[in-house]
């Protein structure tokens, strides 16, 4: 456990110092938020209707764009080889790195997103459900992104391939994330429960898949 805590700590420090973490992702988030009303038009009613969807999709894209950082640097400088030989299993290393990505990128974004929704005239009564759904869902987003990152570890222009591989996995999260934030209030609880179930399933399966892929690249 302390071994993994050391890894988590290092990854968080690196994210903070190298500027690849929450700051850059938030900047990307804001850039998309500026562009969308320009593309859609400034009509307040339209923006209010589209706001949860825009926020969710921007969150997905921000997580996806930062996904390749999860393993790539450690692979290139040889750290991953050392980690693969260390006592903690590669599954736990993959899980820890996904958690670090969540804490440094997805979680800050999902906390900030509902408040940035004010820019899109987001209805105030959906701010809480949206925040809850995003915090729950963002962990699954990071876990699934870690699968994509490990599958495309050493592929030139892997970023595009990550999107093709991971976006299908994001469909369920987007569906239940949206059903928690639009429509009738009766849907909020079941949607959040299903999001929690998806996150739990990702928590179990993603590290196994990611570690298997990492091993194939380390051979």
């Amino acid at each position: 456990m302390t071994l993994l805590a050391a890894l988590l700590r290092r990854d968080l420090i690196l994210a903070a110092r190298q500027g690849g973490g929450a700051g850059t992702a938030l900047g990307f988030f804001l850039a998309v938020l500026v562009l969308l009303p320009i593309g859609i038009g400034p009509d307040q009613a339209t923006l209010q209707r589209l706001a949860p969807g825009i926020l969710w999709i921007t969150l997905l894209l921000s997580v996806l764009l930062s996904a390749d950082r999860i393993f790539q640097q450690d692979f290139e400088d040889g750290s991953l080889e050392v980690m693969a030989m260390a006592p903690p299993s590669l599954e736990l290393v993959a899980l820890t790195k996904a958690v670090a990505h969540w804490l440094s990128t997805s979680l800050p974004l999902s906390i900030a997103a509902p408040f940035l929704g004010i820019l899109l005239n987001l209805r105030t009564e959906v701010i809480w459900p949206l925040a809850l759904a995003m915090i729950l869902g963002s962990f699954a987003l990071s876990l699934l992104a870690s699968i994509g990152a490990s599958l495309t570890l050493n592929i030139r222009r892997g970023g595009l391939l990550i999107s093709i591989l991971v976006l299908p996995l994001y469909v369920p999260i987007l569906v239940f994330g949206m059903s928690a934030t639009t429509g009738n209030p009766e849907m909020i609880n079941p949607s959040l429960l299903i999001l929690a179930a998806i996150t739990l399933a990702s928590f179990v399966l993603a590290p196994i898949a990611a570690a298997a892929a990492l091993r194939a690249y380390l051979k």
Binding site: I147, L151, T152, I155, R156, G158, L161, I164, L165, L167, P168, L169, V171, P172, V175, F176, M178, S179, I198, L205, A209, A212, A213, R215, A216, Y217, K219
Partner: protein, 240 residues
Amino acid sequence: MQQFANPTRFLAIANKALPLIWVLTIILFAIGLYGALVTAPPDYQQGETVRIMFVHVPAAWLAMLVYTVMALASAVAIIFRHPLADVAAKSAAPIGAVFCFLALATGSLWGKPMWGAWWVWDARLTSMFVLFLLYVGYIAIWQAIEEPGRAAMIARIVALVGFINIPVIKFSVDWWNTLHQPASVLRMDGSTIDWSIRWPLLVLGLAYTLLFLALHLMSMRSEIAARKLRNLQIARSGEA
């Protein structure tokens, strides 16, 4: 398990079976198309457009069946290290992708006169679209990774992760939206569809399946030859 792993043995069986499979495929297509275009009556609501179903539905079945075959082969490759399993999964993917594309395109041609739109984001179309993306990702992985052993391992993971997600995607997309008519053909409690329409559909479904089997066996044969060629080239370059 290992005795079936022998490619020579597989090739002998495949070469013997292929002519028979092709003949059966052609006969079934002839019967099925006759049923679809001649004997089946036009629908009282949809008119003649209902006949698109006979090429659309089997393509959709096959798109799902082929991905299942790929996932099973990938699981066999991981568990038993069966050397033919990777060949089977890799060879099936392009065929499945074509069937998936056909299902989408004929569905669109059916949708235009039915719903007045080429494309409707309803549950089944959306999950079929996602299935097509899964095919594209799987094929792209084989092309992007040069080292064959590594490509095989990564492709297995891609196929299995996608397969686990298909029911989740299906469930979530169903929840999300349902406009499409419910599944009715293979319902056991007396299908809502008349037998005169059902039999051509089943015959064509079988014809498509046999077509897949034939193409799959041939692609596997090519893939085995390609690997043998590659090994020979490597051995030759070592001698030089």
